[in-house]
Symmetry: C2
Subunit: 347 residues, 2 copies
């Protein structure tokens, strides 16, 4: 072991579920451990996809491992999720997703038909998204040494010069409108329902979907999209907290306009969860210049993956670094990043 530790700011002596949550502890791990050791300017940007320039061509490059439990759930399975997750990470960086690698870690004894079902989902989703799965790896570990199957997907996309600012949020400014392409929290609730054997009563499907075609069309029509991020682990709230902190600007949200289905609200209430922190797998947060907000909503609402799109708030110069929710009953509530993990193994 190195004598001179480069690790910073990490007080925990062991890894907890919160370190994989996408919230505060995840940020601590990234900025306290990974960034100091792997130090390079690309990683330090801490965008979801790394932006690479190779021979004057710009690329986005991103990786995700999927450990969702259960592996089959209403609206999808771990295979579909693994393709959508990485495709969406590339798409929200403004890139056109091209190629995926797929790596399986499988528990000895896993049923071959279940594996085939997962592979079939991946193939279908890759075909919808118009990307190719070009390389892979399979490891098998003894029974009990992993939980059924874990999947890593890593993706490459090409990125036009005029889209590079999107992941860095460079042009985000007070007055910009915040849009989400539909009701939030459905993936999280679908997983929760599957775990609690409530799927049959609840009938809530995961929103798991590849957004790349919708985003590409949108970006070709609207030139003042200043930021996009898919609201996965940590939900809508975490994306907005990160953005407010990064830009040192405030964000005002209007609770009455945030699309959340009644069933999602109800289930979250029963289990003591906040739908704003529930994971999505087909939702993108878009920050757009005010004058493009209305036409963008018109466009999105005509798209199958955006028909319930809504303006949910705006960027403000007040309360820098803070996200403030104007509640339905007239109060104001600060939305903070989650310290721990609301629901582990959501993706």
């Amino acid at each position: 072991m190195n004598d001179q530790t480069r690790m910073k700011k990490i007080k925990d002596t062991s890894v907890s579920l919160g370190h994989g949550s996408g919230g505060k502890l995840s940020h601590e791990l990234v900025s306290g451990l990974f960034v100091p050791y792997f130090q390079n300017e690309i990683l330090e940007d801490q965008t979801d996809s790394a932006l690479l320039t190779i021979d004057n061509e710009n690329f986005a490059f991103t990786t995700d491992s999927f450990v969702v439990d259960p592996i089959f759930f209403p609206g999808g399975d771990i295979g579909k999720l693994a393709v959508c997750g990485t495709v969406n990470d590339l798409a929200v960086s403004g890139a056109k997703p091209l190629y995926l690698s797929v790596s399986f870690i499988i528990e000895e004894g896993f049923e071959m038909t279940a594996l085939e079902q997962i592979v079939n989902s991946m193939a279908e989703e890759a075909s919808h998204a118009g990307i190719k799965i070009v390389t892979g790896d399979t490891k098998v570990v003894d029974h009990g040494k992993c939980d059924k199957v874990f999947i890593n997907t890593t993706g490459i996309g090409v990125l036009e010069e005029d889209k590079i600012h999107i992941s860095s949020a460079k042009f985000v400014k007070p007055g910009d409108k915040i849009i989400v392409n539909g009701p939030v929290g459905e993936h999280g609730v679908a997983i929760l329902a599957a775990r609690e054997s409530l799927s049959f009563e609840l009938k809530i499907d995961s929103d798991c979907a590849c957004l790349n075609h919708m985003i590409a069309e949108m970006c070709s029509m609207f030139k003042q999209i200043n930021f996009m991020r898919d609201a996965t682990r940590g939900g809508l709230a975490t994306v907005l907290c990160e953005l407010a902190e990064q830009k040192n600007m405030g964000i005002d949200l209007d609770e009455t306009t945030i699309p959340i289905r009644e069933k999602v609200k109800g289930t979250c209430e029963i289990f003591g969860f906040d739908p704003l922190y529930m994971a999505n797998e087909g939702k993108v947060v878009i920050v757009v210049a005010e004058k493009e907000a209305d036409p963008l909503i018109d466009f999105l609402q005509k798209h199958p993956l955006g028909k319930d799109s809504a303006v949910i708030g705006e960027v403000v110069s007040d309360h820098p670094g803070k996200v403030v929710l104007q509640t339905e009953v007239g109060g104001r509530r600060i939305i903070d990043m989650l310290a721990g993990e609301q629901l582990p193994r959501i993706c």
Copy 2:
């Protein structure tokens, strides 16, 4: 589930350790399940790295998940292995490795200092190799749902036009010489010794090393390198069996010239393993035109990672598809691909 299965040739109803071995069952899984579903011409090539052309630029793209047990072993750890493995996969395809993604799956409760040690190894090895770790992901699963830590690395490298033939073995022909850059089986035996608590007596280190600088220098000096492959899971034997089958040519090996340390031989004998199938993590098999073989050996032997390099055999037109070993005692033995798994979780 799809009614019309595209799965072929797979008789097993569940996944066994052998499906992750890199041997016969792994091949069945790839050609029987992944290729039929993910069908595209790049994947069908079944090279270790996918070869991509984006805007007239050639890239190699490869992924590996590492599940080695134990995670710390003589000569390295899972972090060093995860960097070397992917760097070497790119290098043997003839590419210059540039960027890596890293994705961790960590068991809840894993010690933070152990994670730091692994991250430190990755940073050191990335620095030696001259590559950047530019993006990552961390998932944490409940205690007992994975074994300490699994790491996926996925890499991108640039590939010059005149090296594209190397992974496909296009120019391999009878008369070409087969070279290995040093004694085989050391990674496998180091892991075995660590598991059996024999490390102290045996003092065999894993050969885990990034070969990209040596390979780059070699490729700039020698123009008739017709094939390279790193001899990892499945060892030297598996690489040669794959090559013989793919080219439908024979391979003659001379047992007296294959470098294997006495300690490796002895340990393999005790445990009933064949060193030709033992994993390496710093060994490359090179097929070179006959006239370049001697100068190539001279070059390699001057390099720290190649000082025990040797010509171990040649490509022949006899016995197509078969690897034949001329044994020390004068016999001939056919070297076949392993059906199952000699030693699971070796990488």
